[in-house]
Each structure stands twice: as structure tokens, then as C-alpha cells.
Symmetry: C3
Subunit: 656 residues, 3 copies
């Protein structure tokens, strides 16, 4: 059984893409740079089994032996993300079908349907062979299942395999078709079925399908990812016991439930590409320009805090952007120093390993424009020197210790599906709302845990709940018993488990906590926000507005007197979506109420505390100055933060 | 035979969606609120016939009996808009195919192809059963066929059933393939056919198909809707004689000819969703913001005046928006009072019934976010109190009488298809042009009739003709004989019946009325309008410009001297599309010429005269003040109009 | 054998679309207007062969005889762009399939797959019949193959015919599947094939297919156009010897290699629609407004210079826009005089013939809104009088002589495909980059030759190379030996022939000329350019930035010191994409270095020298004034240029 490792560095490597003569030198150079983990194999099926059943594992053994000799630990990837062409020829119906009814073709990756049992069996076969062969190899320290489940919109498949599996899933869930008809509300529009085999997949309908139908299909599709992964973890645990299993989740990917999948893992990995992610965020061109070479200051931290909550605190960055990438709409280079900043920030958030993608930029194929730690000609790229610096600094910072955060944000994948199925306005995007709440906490310097609905709330002083339509009944109980402040976004508790409106109107059972009833909701275009004044400052709310019946006096209201925020005891309910500035002000007020210690940070600077050590990160395209006590002990950096600067201080009683 | 009812209120109700115990109470509450008509049944096929041939009509009988007992009249809907799944399983090729060649699936509504004879027969079967069973029931006051023909882009189907029917339609129209080749101009691009069975549907071509081909497909598709509806009306008239038949047309839906379909109806119904419609109009964000909670001030009135012209004056609002809806891009709530305003405006335009959609908001399925008169928990929503007020006010206003308007706008569905097939610039949208002309008439307080080409022009003093490419030869005659002013938009008479250019150039036969010949046309992007000065004011024209050969001196011209508007006698021809401001000025001038009495209205206020009574409606988001004579008699409201205010005055000789 | 004709005028004519009685009059009127060439027949298949094998050539013979009698020369078009419906019924799989997998239908034009051998045979059959019949007719002066290959995105087809042909093409190119796997880099993502029959067409993949796969498919598709055309030219050369063969290329169409196809032609024709093309260019609304009625001042000239380089100097405008057209997003009319300006500019660039599309505007079908020289009613349209003027002026300008330009721009179709396959940012568009370099040369009054990679560089003083990823090794040699100035855009030499990164990094072999190595590249959004100062002026660079390792001091740099432009000897390398203003300044500097004589031109005025004659063209929407020596001899026009003005002067020693 692997001990939980000290913070460490890793890298992704593709021996099959380089001449064998280079392997030993590469491994030596990696170790020399301070790297200890190497991920290999996840795209190598056509090399491990060039023809059906004709396994060629000898080269892989040489790789593992070499790694072992060089003191490197291997994370071995299962190759299921890239089935070779001969397999697709054998079972062409393993290909996924998109929402437009088009069968996807091979020629890139992830060209399989999660529901296809023939393909699951083929994966089981090759993985068992690999695990039998290498499961006990001394170099093999961990396993990665597949690669970035769901990347390239691959969770939802409308294939025949998916249709058959969906009907089975429904049969198991509802037992009788009458139950399904009732819980979906199929009396509406004559949608009633006589048997499960009449249910279709919810695509290509004339107008929107029943939202209950859609939500069940989203739940089913998420479950299929889990079942697909379980086949792999069962085999690996049997044939390679004691090696932790991880998966590398893709950032900002919400199409299946990462919390649920992580229950079958030992470590949550995620792939961090800050610049590419920023290009895709629905934020202003001004924001994208300011953080062009740094990434959004809260996006990565949000994901760090999310994946830390997935596997009892064990998490890695499996792929860290090492320079400019190739896949975004535009692909800028990070500021000098940003690779170091991103790495140190990950460790400050508790990462065990930060692993870079990839060791050396490829000369060919789809990702040839994706930078590596080394250039395609073998010379070190800029990232590598920053990695060396991180390796050195990690030694100095051996004392990073984690502690529970004072604030928690409840995050929920089903909420994302629910709001995507029924947005009411296209501009209402769950991840954006959640990030906005997270940002408000971070701007006052709070550590945050991102937790699922079923988490214990013990120990927290402030809970924020971005729009969470379907609330677990048990969470309602825990919220009742919770002593700290709770900030609840609009749309929370607005749906039952079956995607119906609660019979006592929203916020359903939350009315037990705060006596408000949503009488009417409306969505507004972003060009027509409502303006209000609170504590002498002007603010905006928009996109969403709830008209509330209550005897509580609103503590924020429109000029008309209509309430925007209501408060009773420790419960604060927002009846509209505040602009970031207003949300910042509300969260700051609640943090005060909760007697949380906050920090005044320069714009674009973020912080993270690890017991007696505090990190500061400068995301700005210009230097920043920290306001710290005169006798601060600096472990790294100083008050004057350059672009991409990291300052680490020892906290004393005074500023703790 | 039902007498033409007094102005009255109605509501849409879905007994199949609520426990039977609630029915009686609901009916009682409806009657209590002043409601007299209840529409039911139009989506209930799966409840009326859960298995093929296994009719279950007893529950419907109980509903009708209860309604009768409560003094309510029922509008019974035929259930053809939502075929149950078992029917689709029986004949999967009844599903429509979209322009991309994808067969649409069941799971929502309107999933049928109008041309499928098997489905028509199934509809005939169930409707005949219903009509036999309930046609003479005392509660059944009227019938509605299907629901919103054409909604969700369902008129055009590219299925095999449509292909076969289209070829038959062409054979009937052209007799010989040589005639078709000649009238379509198939010498162009080698498009000549040897037989009718070589003609395809005009989709998936490499570049645009022949416009004559497209126009005939649009005409065919419109005819298919008519034929589909005729099957239903024939049965109903036979088995339920004396009950008027209506259909609920969807606002801003132009894919089939509503005038033609209405010839088979007794009453034209339309579904009025002012806020959702505004979100879809091609107008500025500023306009959308100003009228966010009121709707465009002319959009509903335009439709009222349109449907009043469909069935000899008999028209209803079948579905009136009662609060925020769910289906638009964003879904704001109306101002308090707007439901009343919309209702009274409909009555001022001659509605017999205003019926609200729906009695109670659903707890489940696709429209759960669509407000009703009651909330999903059964409590009255805001709309209900406004409905009660309308019921009371209707008593006071019993004297609403209709009269022919002084001005008429000629509206034409084929014109919409023609301009959609050959827009010349994507920004040229027929409904937008027509609305612009209508708005100019309304802004000076004129009553308007919206009439089809074949209407008599007798009694009008001003006729406006928004772009009408294909003019009925008989209309040319009537325009010649007409004594009043005529305003003709560009592109009028620019095509023959076969979608060819008139051999004497546009405006073809109109040259008999006003001696101008269009030598050249051009379309301009909206970002490059032409500027001009007329009567010392600066204006713009754009999108479309015609270079005209004529001996007439233009009365509006570009700085270059090139004419924009020409006038001979009572004929005024526009050679360019004027901005709204210029069009307002032109229309005002013609109204003066026609000696029409106009009104100076505050911006955003509209009026409608009903003989000796005059209504004023405030669409603004702020109060408005009417300038009325000192001794005006107010029936409702006053000079000072609040937001959503309605003022009704008795007109005397002075301001009549 | 036809002598190279004197500059002359032509027109496109469709006798099949007009009554035979009109033909003689039309031909007479053409000759009277100064027209000598008439293109016919390219869309007439259904008239030449109304039923399979039932040829009807007699009408065509009457057309040719009449033309001959009137002194007109005929360009006879092969009818392969519009296969008649009976042929599609015979072999439905001849239809192309688009990237979405949808088979295209007949009903417009170009509805065939270039790879379908059955269709090629049918084309061979009809063309041989035509050539046998009319190849020696005295009126037939030249042939046109097909019409606008590639128009409407028709080069790439994903049909089964294309799949089979692609596999054969790959087999011929790579011999073994191992070679293909290696050169495509299929070790990546398990993409290795076991045999050629496993290779798919690169569409409908989950994420992007291998760029090497895509590039080979683009090369294959281009080759298929060539092979398709070769079938036609082989037949025509055999049966109609001595008649030159041309094809009418469509402007801004880059999907197949026009240089390669032109090798099988005698004359390159292109179709010039300046206003429609401008509406599609990725330029600002301001630019589109300014040149709304003139077209981009450099777009046509660029194409003139391009097609002059295709067939050893022999080129025509086959279709010249004569007025407003019908197919662009919006369709303005040209300024009065623009048709003359466009025509004279084409002759100044060496056109042998300018031929107008079309003689008379059609009354029917898809192009009824496309102006002709005559209106649909037979009256002369504005263009015709300008054509008459051009005919007269051509007499005066008989001395137009061509000479090699001092500057050359290397243009490459494969570069377009490469940058389209891997843009790195969507905003990086090859044609836009090339046009920007061309514009900079033209703004200082230089004549330019647009040449392919394999052209000799002898005689030039300045070579510009817009982004050219894959450089022919032989061109590297010629660049080494070249004595003049060379300006190299970023991304040049960034790929090997196999779409891999050069093993010595970009710019690969160009490092032999200028010692720089691109260490890192990044793409930037257009909203975040970098700003810099050069020679006291402020400029921008953007979209693309290369970080370069070199010992050369940059001569233009960012404020950070990072180099933007490097120069060694006569080689100048741009490491970023300059704004037009900066590029203008750089090109002007290099022109000075090369001791080229430049001209100070008013904005929007362009010039072209023909030995001792110099043309000036005013593209502005307002008059312009030329600064010319006092005793300039004016052949046409004067110093004061009206809108659409053309001035021609005799150059003396002084201003030569």
C-alpha cells in the first residue's frame, strides 16, 4: 500500500512517440529536474495490441524497468480512450451517436459509447492483461483509468446501445411504466407510454422534450460513465492491489458526476489549463485581456478545492499547462513565472503531485502545437526551468499543512444538468454562478472547501449555496442544525427530485428555515438589469428575479421596495442574481457576521492559508504590493510582488 | 346554433393534469372570476385512447357535465397536435423530416407530417368518435381544431409522404411537365425535368434551389395544412352541427396562409404572448428594454386587426399570456396591470372572448415555468385579480361597437414566403416591414384593418401596401378604382405569380397607376444607410433602394437628387425602405391628404376608437399624460395614465 | 491556332433562355457594343441531351452559325457543372456528401462528386460529342471547362466514391501503411492503421482528426479536381485542336490548387464580383461602408496578378460584375463608372479579354436578381454604356504593354489548407494575410506579380512571402541565391511536407538564410493586440507572436525588448503579424532598401504601370487629386479624379 506521498512533481510521457534510444536520457533528465512521477500508456493501445490478441508488452516492460532504474514512479494509464481502428472495424456500433443523430467516426479519440457492452468487454480484456503483466511491477505506483472522461462532449450518446441501456435503467428505477408516467408528468402533451420500450432518447424532438425525461437521461448517462469506470477499477484492484487508482478529470466539465465517480477512485486528478479555460469562460473581453497570460484568478483554485473534496483530500494535478497550448480559440503564452505560480498554488491547495503535460512537445499529429517542458527539438522550454525552481522551493516549503476551510461552497453536478435543461434564460450558467460565489469568498481572502450535498457541515462558519434546484432532504436537516451563516442563491430548492415544482412552491422544504415563498419568477436579459442602492452604493441585479411572499423585511431591495435579499437568523436568501460587486459586498457582510478573519487584498491577488503559512499569488499583468505587518517573516518573495509573483509568509498570532 | 356571444372571458384547462376531486372547485372558481368559456382536451389523446381503439371517454363526459352544471361553456379541442406514442410506433413514417433530412422524434408535440394520409385517417377516426360522443353535449359551445398549426416550424416537412404529395400537387397544378419547366424557368442551370416524379423537395441542394420551386413548395405546404384541417372541420360540422369551429393561430407565424385556413373556420383564434414575441422581434436592445414588461405597443394590435379580418369579424384570443412564460430567450414578468391592459385592448379591437392560458400553472413537464391565473399550489396568481377586474369593467363597457377603420393595410402570407425565399439582404424581413407601416398608422391614432388581397377596399380612405411582390390582378383593378390615398412599399408587384420578373419590369401592372419603372434594385447593409433631408428634417433610408425611371418629380429625394418617394394623384410609391421616423412622417402627410382625423399621442401610448368610445393604452414603463379636451367624459381612468394604464372616454362631436 | 488576341471584350450569353427570334438581334447588338467574344453552353446539358443519348445539337449549330455571321467568337462551355436530373436518377451516388454526412441533392448546380468515375465517364461522353460536332466550327474560338470549380464549397466530398478514391490515392503515395503511419505520426492517440482500407475520410470525428490526415485529404481533393478537368482537356485537345482551353476560377476560392489546374489550361479565367467579395471579406464595417460601391481597392488587382501568373501571362476576366448582383449578404449597386474602372484596371493588369456576366438579366430562376448589361425587358442597363466607353478607350490605349513587376508575392494554395487545418486562432486567415502584404506593396504604387513557389525569382527586387508553412526545398535554394530584399511572414517554414514540426524547429531550412529559431509561438485574440513604437510612431501587432532565439538585434521590438522583426542582409523575418499600418511602413522601408521607385498615392487610389503608360484608379466614394508633374501627358482623365475615375498618363524619364 502506497503511503500518501510528500508533495511531488510529475510529468506525462509517451515513449511510443520517441525512439527507444531517447528513453533512458529522458528519464534521467526528468529525475534531474526533480520529477518523481511519470504517467504513460493511456493512448498506446495500438502499440500494446497492434492486431487483435497479438499483445506486444515487451516495450512497455523495458519502459517500466528503465523508469524503476532511474528512481521514477509510473502512473500507468488504461488505454480505453483510444480504441484502435481494428476494434472499431470489428464492432462499428460501438461508436457514439451525437444529438443530431450522426454516428461519430474514429480518427481522433474518445470515439466510443459508454453503454456499449462489447466495447466494455474489450476494455476489460486489455486492462486485465496489462494489470496481470504489470500490476506488481515495482515502478507502477498508481493507475489512471481512461483519460478525461467526457472531454469533447462525449458523455451523452444517442446510439442504439444507449437507447437499450436507458430503457433498462428506467425499468430498474421506476419498476412500472405507470410510475414513470406519473413522476415525469406524462399526462402533459399526451406523452404517456404503455411500456418502457416505447421511451426514446430525448433528442431530435420537435420542441423540447419533457425535462424529467431529460434529467433522467443525464443521470443515466452519468451512471454509464461510472459503470464503465467500475469495470476498470474492479480489475485493477484485483490484479494490482495496493496501487491507488486515479482519473484525470477535465476542468469545467460537468456532464457526469465527478463526486460519484471519485467514490471508486483513491485519488482525484484534474487537468489544469488556465489560459485555455479563460478563453472559454463567459466573461468580458476586458477580463480576458487582463488575465490573458495568467488565467482567471479563481478558476483553478475553485477546481483545486473541488477535487480536494472528492477523495478524502487526496488529489493531483495530472496535467498542468506548461506553456501555450493548441486547443483553445486562441492560445497565448503564460507570463514568465506563471507555471511556477500555478504549481505552488496547487500545492497550497493540497495537491500531492503536480504533473505537467507533457515532457516534450510532439513533432506530429493533433497536439504538435501544445508546448511541453521541452521543445520538440529536445531543448528545454521555459516551463522546465520553472519546474526546477518549484522542485527546489518545495523542499523549503515542506511544512504545507492542510486544515478545514472556514467557508464551504456546496457544488452539485445535477444542478448543472437541471439548469442546462431548463435555463429560463440562456445566460444563466451554473458554473458561472458558482464561480461568482466562490470569487466573492476568495476576494476577502478566505479558504474555501467545495463540497457535495452529502458532506458534513461540521466545522464551517459560512456556507454558500449557488443555485441548487434539487436539494437532498437530508441536507435540509443539516442546514437546520448548522450554526453558522448560510447564503442561499435563487433557484435553490426550486425543483423536486422528479423535476417538478415543489407542491408548496419554491424554495420547498427550505421554507422551514426561512419563511419565504416564491410566488413568481422571471428571467431578464443581461442588457436590462435592475439597479438598486444598498449602504449608499449603487449595484445591479439581473438575469433572474423572484417575487417573494414573506413577512420578513428585505435587507436589500429595489427602489420599488421589492426585496432582493432576505435574512432571518443565520439564513440569507437571495431572490435575484447579484452582480459580482453586490455579491462581494453581501459575502463580506456575512463573513463579518460569522466573525471570519478576512484580508484586504490588492485586485488580482489571491491568498491561501495552510495553518501557519500563508501564500499570496499575483495574477495581475503588473506588480502588486502586499500590505503586511512590519515584522512579517517571508519564506518566499516579499511585499513587492512582480508579475506572476508568489509570496509566502509565516503567520504569527498577529495576522493569523 | 350559438349566438354571437357578448364580449366574454375564457380560460384553458387540463382536467387530465389534476386530480378529479379538484375539477368541481376549479369550475366554480372560474365562474366566480367571471370566466364563461373553458378550452379543454386538445392534448389529451393518450387519456382518451390509452391503447389503440380502447376509448376512455367517461372522464371527459364527467368534465363536460360538471362544466355544464357550473354554467361554463366548453371549447373542445381535437387532440391531433399530440399523437400518442403507440400511434407513432404503428406508423413511424408519419413523423416529419426537417430541412436537414433528419426525421423528428416524438417526445414533445406536433411530431407529425401534414401530408401523411395514414395519420390524417387516424385523426379523422378519433375526432369522429369524439364528435359522435360529445357533439351534442349541452356544454360544448365550440370546437378548436388541433393547436397552433405551424408552431415550432412544423409546416415544412421533407418526408417521403410530403414528396409524394408534392408531386401530385404539381401534377394537378401544371398538368404537363413542360408547363412546369417553362413557368419555373428550368432552362436555367439544366433544371428541366422529364416527368413529375423527377421533382425533388427543395432541400439539401448545393446552393439555393429555383425560387419558383421553393414558392410552389411553400404553397403546397400551406395547402397541406388546409387539407389536414378540412378533414377535421368536415367531421365536426357533420356530427356537431351549430357549434362554431375555431383554430388558435400562433402570433407571428407566417408559414401557412391564415386567411385561407380561416375560410374553413367560423372564428379565428390567436395566442397572444406579448413579452415572448417582443424578445424575438428584430428590434434594438433599447426598444426591448423599454417595452420589456409591456410588449411592443403595436404587435398585439396588429394581430388583433389581422385576425378580425379572417372570419368576417369573429375572433378570439384563445391564449392570453397571464404572467411570465417559459419559452422565450428570456422571460420577464408583465407590469402589474398589463394583463388587464392586454385584455381590454383585445376587446377594443373587437375580440368576442379573451381566454387565458392557463387556469393553473403546471407542476410538471415542459411548461411548468409558464404562469397561470393560479399558482401551482392553487393560490391565485397576480393575473387572476386583473381578470376579475376586467370581468367587472366589461360590464361597464358593454357599449363597445365596431366600425370599419379609415385605413387598411394589405397583408399577404405569400409575400412573406416570397421575401424569405429571395430576401436579397437577410435583414429584409416581411413581418418587420409590415409592422413598421402599421406602427406609422397607429402612432397618429388611426384605427386600422389588416386585410387580404381579395378584400373590398370600399369605405377606406387610406390603403398601405407593405412590400407585396405578387399582386392579384383583380387587386390592381380595385386599386385603380379606389378613391383614397394609396401608399405602396418597394418590391410591390416585383414578381409574377410564377416568381419571375414582370416582363415590363417592376412594379409590373402598377405602372398603370403610377408611371414609374424600376430599372435597378440594390440592397444595403443596415450599417450603411443613405441620409436625406425632407421638410428640413434629417432622415435615413436603407436596406433597399430602387432606381426608378419616371417623369414624375420625386417628392422625397437623396441629396444626389435620386428619388426616394414618388407621387401621382393618390398613388405614392416608395423606392426605398424608410426608417420608422421617415415612414411616420410620410404616413402622417398622406393621412392629412386623406383628411383623416389624427391624434397627437404621447410616445408609447396607443389608442383605438369604437364609435363613440375611445380607448387609450399606456405601454410605457412610466406614467403618461393625455391631452384631452377639458370636458371629456371618462368611462375608465383619467388624463393621468399610470404604467399599464387604460383610459376610456366617451367621444363627443369635438374630438370625434 | 488562335493568335493571342488584342485586348478585347466579351459577354456571357444563354441562348437556351431566350426565344430563338432574339438571337440574331442580340448578337448584332453585342457586336455593335464592341463585344467580340461570347461564352455559351456551360449550363445547357438538359437542352443538348434532354433524354439519355438523345442529342439535340441543331439549335447549338444555329447559334454558332449566327455568331460567326455576326463576327463573334464563341467560348464554348462544357456542361458538366449542371448534370440533368435524368443522369442523377441513373446514378444517385454521383451526388457529393457534405462534411456532416448529408448527401446533397440536385435542384441547383455543382451537385456531383469529383471522384465518381461514372459521372466522369458521362462528362467525357457528352463533351466528346460536342467536340466532335463543334470542335472545328469557325465560330468556336476557345473552350471553357465546367464552371467555377469549387464554388459553393464543392471541392470536398465525403461520399463513398471519395473514400475509395482517397484510399487508392494514399496507396499510391505511401506504398506501405507503415510509411503512412510514420509520416502521419499515428503513434499518437493509437491512430495506427493496419491497411489502407482502414483509413476513413476525416469528418465526423469526435475532436479534430490528425492534421496530416486532413492535409492529405485536401491534397487528394485538389488532385481530384485536376483529374476531373484533365478528362475534359484531353478530349477537347484531340477533337478541337488549336482552340485554347480556359476555366473560369472563382475569386477568393482556395479549396483546390489553381496553379496546378492551370497547367492543363491555355488561359486562366476568373470571375470578378468586387462588391459581393467585399461583403464577405473579414474587414471592419467602416471599410465595407467606404468601399460599398467600389469594392476593396486591392482585391481584384490581387486576383488579376494571381491569374496572370497561372498560364504564362494569358488570362481573362470571364465574368465581370456589370451592376448589382444577387448572391451576397447584401447587394449594392456599383458607382456610376465602376464597371469601366474595373474593366480598365483588368486590362492594365494584362487581361486579354474582359467578359461580362451576363448579356441580359434573366427573368426567372436563381439569378433573376443578377444585373446584366441589359435589363430583363431588353433595354440597356447602365453597365452597357460603360462597356461601350471601354471599347472606345481600348482603341486609344492600344499601347498597353506588360513587363515583369519589381515585386513578387509568393502565394500558395497548400498554405491556405495548412492554416485552415491548424489556424491556432480562428482569426488567422491566409487570404487576409496575403491580401495585407499585397496591399502594403500597392499602397506605395508598386506593380506586383503573384507567383507560385516554383517560379523563378529572377528579375525581382523584392519578394514577400505571406505565411507559407510548407516550403519547397528548391525554393529555399532560390531564396539563398536571390539578390533582392525578402520579407518573410511568421509561420513560414513552420511545417514539413508531412505536416510535422521541422526537427530543427521553425523556420526550418530558412535558418540557413537568417539565423533565428522559433522557440515558442502563441496566438492572441484580436481584442488584445500588443502595442509598440517604431521610428516614433505607435503601432500594433497581434493574432500571432513568435518568441525567437537569435543573436540578431531586432529592428522592431516590443517595449519589453522582445523582437518583432529581424533583419540580416537582405532577409527580413517578422515574428508577429503586423497591423496594416506597420506592415505598410516595413514594406516601404524594404522598397527603399531595394531602391524601388514608389509613388505617393491619395488614400483609396491605386496605380499600375505598363511600361511607358501609367494608370490611376480612384476607389474612393469621393473625388481625389493626383500629384503629378506639371507637364504630364494625359491619355485619359486628369489630375482631378472623380468617383470611379480613371487617369492614364504617359510616363517620361522624370516620373518613370
Amino acid at each position: 500500500m502506497l503511503e500518501r506521498p510528500r508533495p511531488s512533481l510529475g510529468v506525462c510521457y509517451y515513449p511510443e512517440q520517441w525512439p527507444e534510444e531517447q528513453w533512458e536520457g529522458d528519464f534521467g533528465d526528468m529525475h534531474d529536474a526533480g520529477i518523481r512521477f511519470v504517467r504513460i500508456g493511456e493512448f498506446a493501445w495500438s502499440r500494446l495490441e497492434p492486431d487483435p490478441g497479438a499483445y506486444q508488452f515487451d516495450w512497455m516492460k523495458r519502459v517500466l524497468d528503465l523508469a524503476n532504474a532511474k528512481g521514477l514512479s509510473i502512473v500507468l494509464g488504461t488505454p480505453s480512450a483510444t480504441p484502435p481502428k481494428w476494434l472499431v472495424e470489428q464492432m462499428p456500433d460501438m461508436l457514439a451517436v451525437d444529438a443530431q443523430g450522426r454516428q461519430r467516426k474514429s480518427g481522433s479519440r474518445r470515439h466510443y459509447c459508454f453503454s456499449h457492452s462489447g466495447y466494455r468487454n474489450e476494455c476489460a480484456r486489455i486492462i486485465q492483461k496489462l494489470a496481470e503483466e504489470f500490476g506488481a511491477h515495482p515502478a507502477v505506483a498508481a493507475w489512471q483509468t481512461d483519460n478525461e472522461y467526457g472531454c469533447h462532449d462525449t458523455v451523452l450518446s444517442y446510439s442504439n446501445a444507449a437507447l437499450i441501456a436507458f430503457r433498462t435503467w428506467l425499468r430498474l428505477k421506476y419498476k412500472t411504466i405507470a410510475a414513470l408516467n406519473k413522476r415525469w408528468g406524462n399526462a402533459f402533451w399526451s406523452l404517456e407510454y404503455r411500456e418502457f420500450d416505447e421511451v426514446d432518447l430525448p433528442n431530435l424532438t420537435v420542441t423540447e422534450p419533457n425535462p424529467s425525461h431529460q434529467l433522467d437521461f443525464r443521470r443515466f448517462s452519468s451512471d454509464q460513465v461510472m459503470a464503465f469506470n467500475r469495470v476498470q477499477t474492479d480489475i485493477i484492484r484485483r490484479w494490482s492491489p495496493g496501487r491507488p487508482i486515479l482519473h484525470n478529470f477535465m476542468g469545467s466539465s460537468l456532464d457526469f458526476d465527478h463526486f460519484s465517480l471519485a467514490r471508486d477512485l483513491d485519488i482525484a486528478g484534474w487537468d489544469s489549463y488556465p489560459l485555455g479555460f479563460l478563453s472559454r469562460l463567459p466573461v468580458s473581453a476586458q477580463h480576458k485581456t487582463r488575465y490573458l497570460r495568467a488565467g482567471d484568478p479563481d478558476f483553478c483554485a475553485f477546481h483545486h478545492d473541488l477535487y480536494r473534496g472528492c477523495c478524502r483530500g487526496r488529489w493531483w494535478i495530472m496535467e498542468q499547462q506548461p506553456g501555450p497550448v493548441n486547443w483553445a480559440q486562441y492560445n497565448p503564452a503564460p507570463h514568465a513565472g506563471m507555471v511556477r505560480l500555478w504549481s505552488l498554488e496547487a500545492f497550497a491547495h493540497g495537491a500531492e503531485v503536480v504533473s505537467y503535460f507533457r515532457w516534450r512537445q510532439a513533432l506530429f499529429a493533433q497536439e504538435q502545437m501544445h508546448a511541453g517542458l521541452n521543445r520538440p527539438d529536445g531543448t528545454p522550454d521555459m516551463g522546465l526551468s520553472e519546474v526546477r525552481q518549484v522542485a527546489t522551493e518545495l523542499e523549503q516549503l515542506s511544512s504545507i499543512k492542510l486544515e478545514q476551510a472556514p467557508a464551504a461552497l456546496i457544488f452539485d453536478y445535477e444542478a448543472a444538468w437541471t439548469l442546462e435543461i431548463q435555463p429560463h434564460t440562456e445566460e444563466y450558467v451554473y458554473l458561472g454562478v458558482a464561480l461568482s460565489f466562490y470569487r466573492a469568498l476568495r476576494r476577502i481572502g478566505l479558504n474555501v472547501d467545495v463540497i457535495p450535498q452529502e458532506s458534513s457541515l461540521d466545522g464551517y462558519k459560512l456556507i454558500v449555496i449557488p443555485s441548487l434546484p434539487i436539494l437532498d432532504p437530508d441536507l435540509v436537516k443539516r442546514l437546520k442544525d448548522f450554526g453558522g451563516e448560510i447564503l442561499i442563491a435563487p433557484r435553490t430548492c426550486s425543483k423536486t427530485e422528479d423535476f417538478q415544482i415543489p407542491s408548496n412552491l419554491p424554495p420547498g422544504p427550505l421554507q422551514q428555515l426561512i419563511p419565504i415563498k416564491v410566488q413568481r419568477v422571471e428571467s431578464l436579459p443581461s442588457f436590462a438589469p435592475e439597479r438598486l442602492t444598498w449602504k449608499s452604493s449603487g449595484y445591479e441585479v439581473g438575469l433572474w428575479f423572484e417575487h417573494v411572499e414573506t413577512e420578513i423585511e428585505p435587507f436589500i431591495a429595489l427602489p420599488s421596495g421589492e426585496g432582493v435579499a432576505f435574512r432571518k437568523g443565520t439564513y440569507t436568501y437571495l431572490a435575484a442574481l447579484p452582480s459580482q460587486e453586490l455579491l462581494d459586498a453581501i459575502v463580506a457582510e456575512l463573513a463579518d457576521e460569522a466573525q471570519l478573519e478576512t484580508v484586504q487584498l490588492p485586485k488580482g491577488v489571491r491568498t491561501r492559508r495552510c495553518r501557519d503559512v500563508q501564500f499570496f499569488f499575483n495574477y495581475n499583468p503588473e506588480p502588486a504590493t502586499l500590505h503586511l505587518p512590519a515584522r512579517t517573516e517571508f519564506l518566499l518573495g516579499s511585499r513587492e510582488m512582480p508579475v506572476a509573483g508568489v509570496t509566502v509568509v509565516r503567520t504569527t498570532g498577529a495576522n493569523r
